[in-house]
């Protein structure tokens, strides 16, 4: 099992005097001499990691652990990693907000081998938002010229109906229609860019990994993009788990089921290694 060395994490509910321990089991210590209530992971029906809390639905009831009960963000990330590791073996339902990096359940403990590139960096908001926009542009560029052309024709038709285009005035109206189409296309482009940036911000706000230092690993066996406070040196997502990748000037974006599951910034690695990383990816994945 990947991430098997993670130490259990405790969270303290100061108001009610309850301590939750998430580890090999899920334990709830209440105040008093009574032994704790302990659930093994096969007794957990579902776990929901939402913006401000983690909810455990167990055979004995629901427990909600607020994010602020953890002593630090690192502890919260460790707790999430521990939960995600257990999904593979215990198959409980797991709900979570969209993430910037692969779930820990997709990792395997593998020997990375000799040709391994390791880098550490905090995900840059500008770079990642630019990647989001680039991905959107990929889709949008196909229809943007169509939108421009259609608006131009509609404008031309509208003018013709209103004023009537003749041999003498058509030289005025065609450029006006073309400009209307171009301006509309530009407006659409600006709006979608704003949407892409907002989308990235909403994901980044929900995923506290966006603000933490990330360890990026690329090797022949697989890759890793994982919070440095959680990462162990042998945990990798095998290449067989993902479908294809896109290379931009600043990032490698890895896809699974047509959804980006990992953003690997080039600047996390030494410049001279970027070529080697691209080669390993191209050898193992389709490049689009």
């Amino acid at each position: 099992m990947a991430f098997c060395d993670l130490k259990p994490v405790s969270a303290m509910d100061g108001e009610r005097g309850i301590t939750y321990i998430i580890g090999n089991v899920f334990a709830i210590y209440e105040m008093g001499p009574e032994p704790p209530v302990v659930y093994s992971w096969d007794m957990i029906r579902s776990v929901a990691v939402i913006s401000k809390e983690i909810t455990f639905d167990t055979v004995g009831g629901k427990y909600s652990v607020k994010n602020n009960m953890f002593t630090s963000d690192d502890d919260l990330l460790r707790a999430i990693a521990l939960i995600e590791c257990k999904i593979k073996d215990y198959h409980f339902d797991y709900q979570h907000a969209r993430r910037l990096f692969p779930l820990k359940s997709s990792y395997l403990e593998l020997n990375p081998g000799k040709e391994t590139y390791v880098g550490e960096d905090v995900l840059d908001e500008g770079d990642t938002a630019a990647s989001f926009i680039m991905l959107l542009n990929f889709k949008l560029v196909k229809i943007l010229w169509l939108i421009g052309l259609m608006v131009m024709l509609l404008t031309l038709g509208g003018i013709h109906l209103a004023v009537g285009i003749t041999r003498t005035n058509w030289l005025y109206f065609v450029p006006i229609s073309a400009a209307a189409g171009a301006i509309t296309a530009l407006l659409v482009h600006i709006v979608t860019q704003a949407i892409a940036r907002a989308r990235f911000r909403s994901i980044a706000e929900a995923d506290c990994a966006a603000r933490k230092e990330i360890t990026f690993v690329v090797c022949r066996q697989g890759f890793a993009a994982c919070e440095s406070c959680v990462y162990e040196s042998r945990d990798l997502v095998p290449w067989s788990e993902v479908d294809y990748f896109i290379e931009s000037d600043k990032m490698f974006i890895i896809y699974k089921n047509n959804m980006p599951i990992a953003f690997i910034p080039k600047r996390a690695f030494d410049k001279k290694y970027v070529g080697g990383i691209a080669d390993i990816m191209a050898l193992n994945l389709e490049q689009r």
């Binding site: 405790s10 321990i21 090999n24 089991v25 001499p33 593979k88």
Partner: protein, 476 residues
């Protein structure tokens, strides 16, 4: 940082267990995960390693994503280089202290200092120095092979407690030296404890100390008593059996009744889920934690011990993991010698109970003559109660193993009755092999002699086994 060791005895439900809590342990002895290993282009198998110091000692390949019900492929690690003299000294000191009459808690203190963080239980138990399949344990794991009984959750034994009783060596076979054995033969006779074992998986423990002594014990039929260290990690739930509601016979089902179809279904559908008879209602958390030999309810644990148990990891990589991982890829240069295990030891090991016998002894409480007769009639139930399992041939095999272990006389009678019954021909070969390999008694000899001289078709499957058996015993 010094190791914090705390020992205390807990009493619960009329039983008691010695618990050892290790904090800031040095992780010199233990097991850890080595990750996924590729088998036929598939990454579903996991490699687990038992290590001593910075040496990989035993490789356990756990198939099916380390499914706890799957048996493991075990082999002695080729990367073993021979562990540090200090570790050997600590083991020898503890071994001597136990033999000088010290208690388990104080005698094994040096060994506890070598363990990783966690809660352990310690006890004495007799071991069969075999691989659970009739081979002497030392040298039985040179090649990686599936070892029956290494699964953490034994299907035959189920949720019951059991004591591991088979051994895995922690020294390679070429460490065996008759000269050393002769030197310790006299000591073995007077020892209270013959070895120190650390539980690894299922019915198997790694022998940390006492390899040469085990040879003498087998040679001279001396029980091989070991001090056993088991890590307590597994949560368990004590479920109450659900009161059985038997389906009415087909004739009594009212076809007009609203639930007639369900009643008929209940009668016709065999039990598919083994947990079907278990009441899951009212369960609020686990009952306690267990190791193979002991189940300790939560209330019996001292509060600090329980906290340590909950807050520690089942298995983790020791600080010297990278050295071990590097050694795993190397192969030890072996010394060349002409030392061979005494033939009598190998022969006696063959006669010792095997894994199936031990499993059946834990799985079944009792088998009455009435139940055996039901099995011989091809029934799996006796007076409405399941005898062994819903699978008939599995029941026959388990019953044979149980009788062979507990009551050899009834085993012979039952086996002969099976082989006499043409309806049970599918089990003939298995039963004949079991009888032939383990028993040399006149009843069996006479039966096999009759079989070997007979041309009856019903003996077709066991004819060759009978001839071999008769020839072997006649030569003796």
């Amino acid at each position: 940082m010094s190791v914090d060791i705390k020992t205390e005895t807990v009493d619960f439900d009329g039983k008691s267990a010695l618990l050892v809590t290790v904090k800031d342990g040095s992780c010199i002895i233990g097991t850890c995960s080595m990750g996924c290993v590729e088998q036929s282009g598939n990454l579903s198998a996991r490699l687990r390693m038992f290590y001593i110091g910075s040496d990989p000692v035993l490789n356990l390949i756990c198939p099916s994503r380390a499914n706890k019900q799957s048996d493991k492929l075990v082999s002695f690690s080729p990367g073993f280089q021979g562990y540090d003299i200090k570790i050997n000294d600590a083991l020898t000191n503890s071994f001597n202290r136990l033999n000088n009459g010290e208690s388990l808690g104080s005698g094994l203190r040096d060994v506890f200092g070598l363990l990783g963080d966690g809660v352990y239980t310690v006890y004495y138990s007799d071991y069969y120095p075999t691989d659970g399949n009739g081979n002497f344990y030392w040298g039985a794991y040179n090649i990686s092979h599936e070892v029956h009984g290494t699964a953490e959750h034994n299907r035959a034994i189920g949720d019951r407690e059991y004591r591991p009783c088979f051994l895995l060596p922690t020294q390679p076979m070429d460490y065996f030296a008759p000269r050393v054995k002769v030197g310790i033969d006299e000591q073995v006779k007077t020892r209270r404890v013959q070895g120190i074992a650390y539980h690894v998986s299922g019915l198997y423990s790694a022998l940390l100390k006492g390899h040469h002594g085990s040879v003498f014990c087998v040679e001279n039929n001396i029980p091989f008593r070991c001090a056993v260290i088991e890590k307590i990690t597994e949560p368990y739930v004590e479920r109450k059996p659900r009161p059985t509601v038997s389906a009415p016979p087909a004739g009594e089902v009212d076809p007009e009744a609203p639930n007639a179809a369900e009643q008929l279904d209940a009668e016709q559908t065999p039990a598919e889920n083994p947990d079907d008879g278990i009441d899951n209602a009212g369960i609020n958390g686990i009952t306690g934690f267990r190791s193979p030999s002991v189940k300790i309810p939560l209330y019996a644990f001292p509060r600090d011990v329980l906290k340590q148990l909950i807050e520690s990891r089942t298995e983790f990589k020791p600080p010297h993991f990278n050295i071990m991982a590097a050694k795993l890829l190397t192969t030890r240069r072996k010394s060349i010698n002409n030392n061979a295990m005494p033939r009598s030891v190998l022969e006696r090991a063959e006669q010792m109970p095997d894994c199936e016998m031990v499993e059946s002894a834990y799985a079944i409480d009792e088998l009455t003559d009435e139940q055996l007769n039901c099995l011989l009639r091809g029934e799996v139930e006796c007076n409405g109660k399941l005898i062994v399992s819903p699978n008939f041939y599995s029941s026959i095999i388990t019953a044979c193993s149980f009788l062979q272990f507990k009551d050899p006389k009834r085993f012979v009678d039952f086996s002969i009755a099976i082989m006499e019954s043409p309806e049970l021909s599918a089990a003939h070969e298995y039963v004949a092999r079991r009888v032939a390999s383990q028993t040399s008694n006149s009843k069996v000899f006479n039966f096999f002699k009759t079989v070997s001289e007979s041309n009856d078709v019903k003996y077709d499957k066991i004819h060759f086994i009978a001839q071999t058996y008769v020839r072997r015993l006649s030569q003796k």
